[in-house]
């Protein structure tokens, strides 16, 4: 394959590099495949991916929503988009859906051979966001490649926006090489609250109605006191959550963790017994969700308690990684938690098996080859596709019974 242009990509995202590393996995893999990568992101200075795996990256801090005024923040983003538009990098990746509205008008007109890629790590539901969804459609139809983070979403966006370019899936999954802190008795005793035979559920979220936290708490109230919940509360306890916990009499069974860095989040996760992945069925994005938490739990060897929605349920059934429940119904959640506990007690959902499943099917390295190939195709002499086929079916590796 002859290269037409150099393999250099500019990756712009509004997601802070210090929050979670999922968004930076794609440039990481491209960098390993010989691409010259420049990342523009808020707090990129402190990016764990760059510091641990890609010290050769070029990077710029994007001063977007990092403390300064809204106008300064906006100007900073517009300046970076314009630099990308008229700069030297032949391939531009617009990551994060917040960029759509600006990029739509900034990238109007001829691109002079530049390749434009839009990577949406979320989903704009046309019911909730009709204007943004429309703009997204206009932008994506101009793109040379569209990347979604979930297979159903990819398929639906392709159909909804009538895309002709290739559509690929890049899930927010951790790489198998991502360091997982070891288990610690100190943290475990913090989580189990000195309760004998405690069963600790981990929810990497604050009190968020879209994460069905109220229903999980109600389910907890239906279960014996050894069942406990650990949440990322960000230090302060939401008054609504406080009120609910007091009413249900479970305050002492719920631990709200202080703000933690990503390694800290994983450290607490690794000392829990199961992860919670419940989502409200409020829009298509949450119904067909592909949460980064999934591999955070699995990488730590935790089985999951997931919503019974087609996408998640398929994963759970296919790879035997947990239980699915009706997330609107606390009794169903409670029953699911009990099923998890008794399965673990009788030797099921072994940590090593969950971890193995993560490495075999979910780890980002498994997803990288088709993505890298698609990027290589963009700068090769291959003719531009007029109508790309639908995204290829999905999880790498054989299904487990």
């Amino acid at each position: 394959m002859k290269l037409q242009t150099r393999k250099a990509v500019l990756f712009i995202t509004t997601y802070a590099a210090t929050d979670t590393p999922h968004g930076e996995h794609l440039p990481w893999m491209l960098s390993e495949a010989g691409w010259e990568v420049t990342v523009v992101a808020p707090h990129e200075k402190d990016s764990a991916v760059r510091q641990m795996f890609c010290p050769g990256w070029k990077w710029r801090n994007l001063k977007f929503r990092t403390g300064q005024s809204k106008i300064a923040s906006e100007l900073s983003l517009l300046w970076e988009l314009l630099r990308a538009r008229f700069g030297r990098r032949p391939v531009i990746v617009l990551h994060s859906q917040g960029i759509v509205a600006r990029a739509w008008y900034l990238f109007l007109g001829p691109l002079f051979g530049k390749k434009l890629i839009y990577h949406n790590p979320d989903y704009y539901d046309p019911i909730t966001y009709p204007v943004r969804s429309w703009m997204e459609g206009r932008l994506t139809r101009r793109c040379d490649l569209f990347i979604a983070n979930e297979y159903h979403r990819a398929y639906i966006v392709r159909s909804q926006h009538r895309l002709r370019c290739p559509v690929l899936v890049s899930p927010p999954n951790l790489a198998a090489r991502w360091p997982i802190p070891s288990r610690s008795e100190k943290i475990r005793s913090e989580l189990d609250g000195a309760v004998k035979d405690a069963f600790v559920l981990r929810l990497n979220s604050g009190f968020n109605p879209l994460r069905m936290v109220a229903q999980v708490m109600e389910a907890l109230a239906l279960l014996p006191a050894r069942f406990r919940l650990v949440m990322s509360g960000g230090g302060s306890v939401n008054p609504k959550a406080e009120e609910l916990m007091r009413r249900l009499g479970i305050r002492e069974r719920v631990l709200m963790l202080p703000p933690l860095d990503y390694a800290g989040v994983l450290e607490y996760t690794n000392n829990a017994d199961a992860g919670v992945l419940l989502y409200a069925n409020n829009d298509l994005g949450n119904y067909f969700t592909s949460p980064g938490r999934l591999t955070e739990y699995l990488a730590c060897g935790l089985p999951v308690l997931a919503s019974r929605y087609a996408g998640l349920e398929n994963l759970v059934q296919r790879f035997g990684i947990g239980e699915c429940v009706d997330c609107e119904d606390p009794r169903s959640i409670a029953a699911g938690i009990q099923r998890l506990e008794s399965a673990i007690a009788s030797g099921g959902y072994k940590r090593a098996k969950m971890r193995q499943s993560f490495e075999d099917h979910f780890a980002f390295e498994k997803w990288a080859p088709p993505l890298v190939e698609a990027f290589n195709n963009l700068v090769s002499d291959k003719p531009k596709v007029k109508q790309a086929p639908p995204p290829q079916y999905w999880f790498p590796g054989p299904a487990e019974g």
Partner: protein
């Protein structure tokens, strides 16, 4: 309860699924007026509902006769004063749009067992979207389709789901060794040892992955034979015969003349493996809930289907068969072989379980009755005879 049903005709040769909702309602004692635009007379199976279903067929003679159909639908609704108007399928929505202008003294329900994917047909897509947005309820046949439908047409609530399926009381012929022998003899396969009959589930069609299925025979032993249903001289049959000749698979593919729905069900009872493959070309195929599913299951036939998430989940949950990549003849062959190599006692047990699943969790009533109760409210339960 009085229901007006607007649909295309359900004739003897076609599958009964479009009319299943009103047939069920009629059996439960509700009065149904079935309005259809077409030429074929209603199927005999609707006979057991006669007295409760008034069938009015408007002859289809060119596009202008559509106006005649419209002049049948609107006055019927105005004079019959129904409790509910149920419109089935995107093809009816250009007519049904006129109903939106009528004084709404009835529940308006739109049900579809297909999906007009974006860009496939602008007229049906626009009419369907506009009509669905103004209906009291929308019913689709697959949960993922329901979510997609809501999103794409901006519906206020997620459509209800009733999977396309046969009801438990649908008569299905029993599997008998004598009938199988008869079929084997008629197909000229009596000398094939350990014969595995693979039901293609219809004629030779590209959108049923028939070319890939025929190619899959290259990777299977010679006792695996595919049965298509098609008329002699049809385009599909001609193309199939051409492919068979090209691949030197003579004798591995046989044809039965298209026997109508009842005949097709009878034929399935003689088969070992059912094929339910769809191409990965559009939303409608990708999120499938085909009537063929319970047809196979009721006949105790394990299925090979496309490895699409909705179908795959169903297969994982209920153990209905194997999934395969529909574009890959090797993958199809592997899935067929997995089923074909299951020893006899085990497969007999499996067949029984498949039939039980089709009669229980996947039966039409199991899914439809809770939805009917939700849609029609308490009145439905009170006025139902069963």
């Amino acid at each position: 309860m009085k229901v007006i049903f607007v649909c295309y005709p359900t004739d003897e040769s076609s599958a009964p699924h479009p009319a299943m909702a009103v047939a069920t309602l009629a059996r439960m004692g509700h009065e149904v007026i079935y309005l259809a635009w077409g030429n074929l007379p209603p199927a005999k199976w609707l006979d057991d509902c006669i007295g409760r279903i008034q069938h009015r067929l408007c002859p289809k003679r060119g596009i202008l006769s559509a106006l005649g159909f419209l002049f049948e639908v609107v006055p019927t609704i105005l004079s019959a004063k129904p409790d509910c108007v149920l419109v089935e399928g995107a093809q009816q929505t250009p007519f049904a749009l006129w109903l939106l202008g009528l004084p709404r003294k009835f529940q308006l329900i739109y049900q579809t067992q297909n999906v007009v994917g974006p860009g496939q047909s602008w007229i049906y897509e626009s009419c369907e979207g506009l009509f669905a947005r103004h209906c009291d309820w929308v019913i689709v046949n697959e949960p993922n389709r329901a979510r997609f439908f809501q999103c794409i047409y901006r519906l206020k609530k997620t459509p209800e789901v009733i999977r396309t399926a046969l009801p438990a009381l649908w008569p299905v012929p029993e599997r008998t060794a004598s009938y199988r022998d008869e079929v084997v003899l008629a197909l000229g396969l009596a000398n094939v040892k350990q014969l595995k009959l693979i039901a293609a589930g219809g004629g030779y069609r590209d959108d049923r992955m028939s070319p890939q299925l025929v190619e899959a025979l290259l990777h299977l032993p010679k006792n695996y034979i595919v049965v298509f249903s098609d008329w002699p001289g049809s385009d599909g049959r001609r193309r199939c015969e051409e492919q068979v000749r090209k691949l030197k698979l003579e004798g591995r593919v046989v044809f039965r003349e298209a026997p109508g729905f009842a005949g097709m069900m009878k034929m399935l009872t003689a088969c070992d493996i059912g094929i339910m493959l769809y191409p990965d070309t559009a939303i409608g195929h990708f999120y499938q809930s085909p009537g063929r599913l319970t047809e196979y299951l009721r006949c105790g036939v394990p299925i090979v289907t496309s490895k699409f998430p909705g179908l795959e989940l169903l297969f994982l949950k209920y153990g209905l068969g194997e999934t395969a990549i529909p574009d890959s003849s090797e993958s199809i062959a592997e899935a067929i072989r997995k089923i074909g190599e299951i020893p006899v006692p085990e497969i007999e047990h499996w067949r029984k379980r498949l039939q039980e699943t089709a009669l229980g969790e996947l039966a039409y009533e199991t899914q439809a009755l809770p939805v009917f109760e939700k849609v029609f409210g308490a009145a439905f339960r009170e006025t139902s005879a069963v």
